[in-house]
Symmetry: C2
Subunit: 300 residues, 2 copies
DNA sequence: AAAAGTGCTGCAAAAAATGCATCGCTTGTC
DNA sequence: GACAAGCGATGCATTTTTTGCAGCACTTTT
């Protein structure tokens, strides 16, 4: 959309931190870019950048403007989607920020199913910790976020949720594998590996362990659930994961057992969007689909 | 704001109904305007006008676009106001649509008081019947509406309200003037003049008269409360008006008496805005001021 | 059949945006 | 303390975009 070109340039400058760098990034001369900005500031009625010796930075007016600009772009996209919807074709792009647990099974399946019905819709999927996911919603870099136990910032609006009991992952030959559900203390007594601090599961486990007055002593910490799962194969340890990221059938040498809810509270997987935002047609429908899928999951 | 020029042109075309007329109105050639529209439609990805033999008209896609455009313009203005607010100066423009009753005393007083504190803020005041007032909110032609008994469309969001008892206006020598409050039937028995059908007061009176099974028989109908008040001076008749439009002290030969609430329900003067919209700084503050003023009125 | 209205288009002129070279300034380095 | 490197700003020639004019094809009204 050409009439937003200047604002896109400005966004580039914000990212690059200097006009020259931004000009380089966006295949334009620094002088042309500089003058676009000057012209814009003049008609906008206020400077939007602080001129620093090493570059430029948004001033408060600029921050306001960028917020406005981002909603504007997102609104325009929504209108275009609605128009495409009028003529029968379901078109659009859906950007999702999600936790790792959704990556292996849940999201690929859901997206493939949706794209089977609406091939015109494209997707982008970004793995984000719960805080970054919510931040992405705020800057319109993602339309939807699907995260476990989010930090719950004010601008996060819950669309639907799904309870998830944290499971312990272990080798089949582990003694705990014989029980239907395991106690947290039994896990802690063994060698255990934990997700790093930014994850919801970790927060939940920390709280529970504190209550049980037995501290967590992770042998290994990682921000990759994949790594932790593989690690358990090599050292006979306990890892933790929420069931939506597990597919019991395919893992032949590992098993998962739910932690007793007497020890660890049930967590929530939350689907959310930016508060108050009207989502594009495609995103809204996909969110409905996810909601149904999460409900179905709950009934199992 | 230059980057919205094309959209302003498009709005002009919508108003004029044809490209040539619009081009004339806006000091540009028809060909230039035509090509702007074509270029825009191309990058927008869809036609927005139906080409008719006598001109052009928005198609559904165009309607969606215009709605988007109007919110965009309004949002931009809000951002600019906020920016002006940052640097200490209170600036902005407030557009108000209101009923006639607010014109003589209430609004002039409120606006003057506000402008005394914030001389940078400008106002536009449009007299609108309750339906047109609500429509103005929807198209962003007004920021605030202040109307008696609005039709209450879905997009009208009430900011505050103030009960208003309809008063009968009569000459001092009218026998009814001796009572503290008057009955509707006594008014109807005399010669009476009524506001036209689009007014809230008329609707309220009609309902009440129907309940009392005595029909209204207006000798004169008018859409000007001013006219009706003056008319009463010439023919000894009864007119009706809400108290906010009256200033008892200044009218020496006329008096007003409240209608009994046994006959006519108490009406509401409502201050409202477009549902869900974030008002510009100045408008929001003025709305607060009006709210306080309406509350003070209620305590008298 | 003519007249008046519409949207659309080829081409030259006008206007706007861009690129290049350069200035003045601050910062970090030798 | 000189110097180089990096920054935003600016004058000027060049390129790109937009505009205006004239005229086309078409439909409705007279």
């Amino acid at each position: 959309m050409k009439h937003l070109q200047t604002l896109r340039y400005i966004e580039g400058v914000v990212r690059a931190g200097s006009i020259r760098k931004a000009a380089d990034d966006m295949n334009i001369t620094a002088s042309a870019l500089n003058r676009r900005i000057q012209r814009f500031e003049e008609e906008f009625g206020s400077e939007i950048f602080e001129r620093l010796p090493r570059g430029v930075r948004l001033n408060p007016a600029g921050e306001l403007l960028m917020q406005h600009f981002r909603t504007q772009v997102s609104d325009l996209r929504r209108v275009q989607d609605q128009v495409a919807d009028l003529s029968g074709e379901r078109r659009g792009h859906i950007a999702i920020a999600c936790s790792q647990a959704l990556i292996p099974y849940f999201l690929p399946e859901q997206i493939a199913a949706y794209r089977n019905e609406h091939p015109g819709v494209t997707f982008s999927v970004s793995v984000r910790d719960r805080e970054a996911a919510e931040r992405d919603l705020g800057t319109f870099q993602s339309d939807l976020a699907l995260v476990f136990e989010p930090v719950h910032m004010v601008d996060f609006e819950v669309i639907s949720h799904c309870p998830q009991i944290i499971h312990a992952i272990m080798r089949k030959d582990n003694p705990l594998a014989r029980k239907a559900e395991v106690r947290l203390r039994d896990c802690i007594d063994q060698t255990h590996v934990l997700p790093s601090a930014s994850y919801g599961a970790r927060a939940l486990l920390e709280i529970s362990a504190k209550r049980g007055s037995r501290p967590l002593r992770p042998s290994v910490e990682s921000d990759s659930f994949d790594f932790m799962r593989h690690y358990v194969r090599h050292e006979n340890a306990i890892a933790f994961q929420i069931p939506i990221g597990l597919n019991i059938a395919t893992d032949d040498d590992l098993v998962s057992r739910p932690l007793s809810t007497r020890d660890v509270p049930v967590g929530s997987l939350l689907l959310g969007q930016q508060r108050g935002r009207t989502l594009p047609v495609a995103s809204a429908r996909f969110a409905q689909k996810l909601t149904r899928a999460l409900e179905a999951l709950q009934e199992d």
